[in-house]
Amino acid sequence: MIGGTFESLTAIWVYLAATPLIGLTLTLVAYLAGTWLQRRAGGSPLANPVLIAVALLAGVMLATGTAYETYFAGAQFVHFLLGPATVALAVPLYRQLKDVRRAAPAILGATLFGSVFAALSGYGLALLVGAAEETARSVAPKAITTPIAMGVAERIGGLPSLAAVVVILNGILGAVVVSWVLNRTGIKDWRARGFAAGLAASGIGTARAMQVHPQAGAFAALALGLNALATALLLPLLMRLVG
């Protein structure tokens, strides 16, 4: 009897492990747990739902010895939505189009300045803490979206896989600290706050800005797109100057 139950449980597990259902469901459960914890923490950015969900899932996978590929077979359905969601950023952006048009020169100036600063500060600080040249070059494109960062890293002599790790780390870190850091500067303009979040912490920073204020979200989306373009064009040239 007990053996029979065990066997049928094993059969159910074998069946479930082969479907994407577990990876997908666990991703949503972990994220909901993250948002619940953030609400319990009074909306504190330190209780970032991405950070909590990632830690929970990584813990479960390490404990059960699950391979990332197995997990991703389910989680890919969530991951895939990043594309259409990026396109959907056009809607909040359109709602702010009048303000965006008026601020166009400021937006272009801040993009150029921020893009160069993000890349050179990442590269310089990495060298300063004793990182190898190749590692530092993988850190340089840290503030832009993952696929472009990987391409740029490869072009300037860095490691694409390390660049991807640094981009996500940078995004989570940025989303966690951005509100606190900006409050210290005393800047209250949602356009400047959102723009800084999107430029410094790309997608995850934009998600945070979106959560805080619609105008901040729109300007973050703008910074994300423009910074990807500026960094992809400028960074290879800059790195040639650096040597």
Binding site: T27, L28, Y31, V50, L51, A55, Y68, Y71, A75, Q76, V78, H79, L82, A85, V87, A88, L89, A90, V91, P92, L93, Y94, L97, D99, A103, P105, A106, I107, G109, A110, F113, F117, S121, L125, V129, G130, A131, A143, T145, I148, A164, I168, L169, N170, L173, G174, V177, T185, K188, D189, W190, R191, A192, F195, A196, A201, A207, A223, L224, A228
Partner: protein, 125 residues
């Protein structure tokens, strides 16, 4: 919802095609965002169904980064040697980039707002 989702995917597909064909250095979805924005600007308004779908997707934008984030966490142990220094460097660079960009944007916005003082920006205290 289905027509709006189809529109978003079609824009993404058009963006991916444009990137591949023209060799653009931006992600396909970002070009898709620019295409949709241009379309909305021509139309002059956001269709209600599209607004609902877009807002629904974007309400949980953070969720979409979780699968990639898990991949990163599992790679972290491999960074044992360089990890702590790298984490410090990335943190300092992130914080300083946020401050520098926000300050630069604030100063430049003061200038552009003066050039066109007619419409007061929303969100100012």
């Amino acid at each position: 919802m289905l027509p709006s989702l189809t529109l978003l995917l079609a824009c993404q597909l058009a963006g991916e095609l444009a990137v591949r064909l023209a060799g653009l250095p931006v992600p396909g979805p970002v070009v898709g965002m620019a295409l949709l924005l241009a379309g909305l600007a021509v139309r002059g308004s956001v269709p209600e169904a599209l607004a609902r779908t877009a807002d629904g997707l974007l309400a949980h934008l953070s969720l979409l980064f979780v699968p990639a984030g898990v991949g990163v966490m599992l790679l972290l142990p491999r960074l044992e040697r360089e990890g702590p220094g790298l984490l410090l460097a990335v943190s300092l660079s992130t914080v300083s980039t946020i401050v520098v960009t926000a300050v630069a944007m604030r100063l430049l916005l003061k200038w552009t707002d003066r050039r066109a003082p007619d419409a007061a920006p929303e969100g100012e205290p």
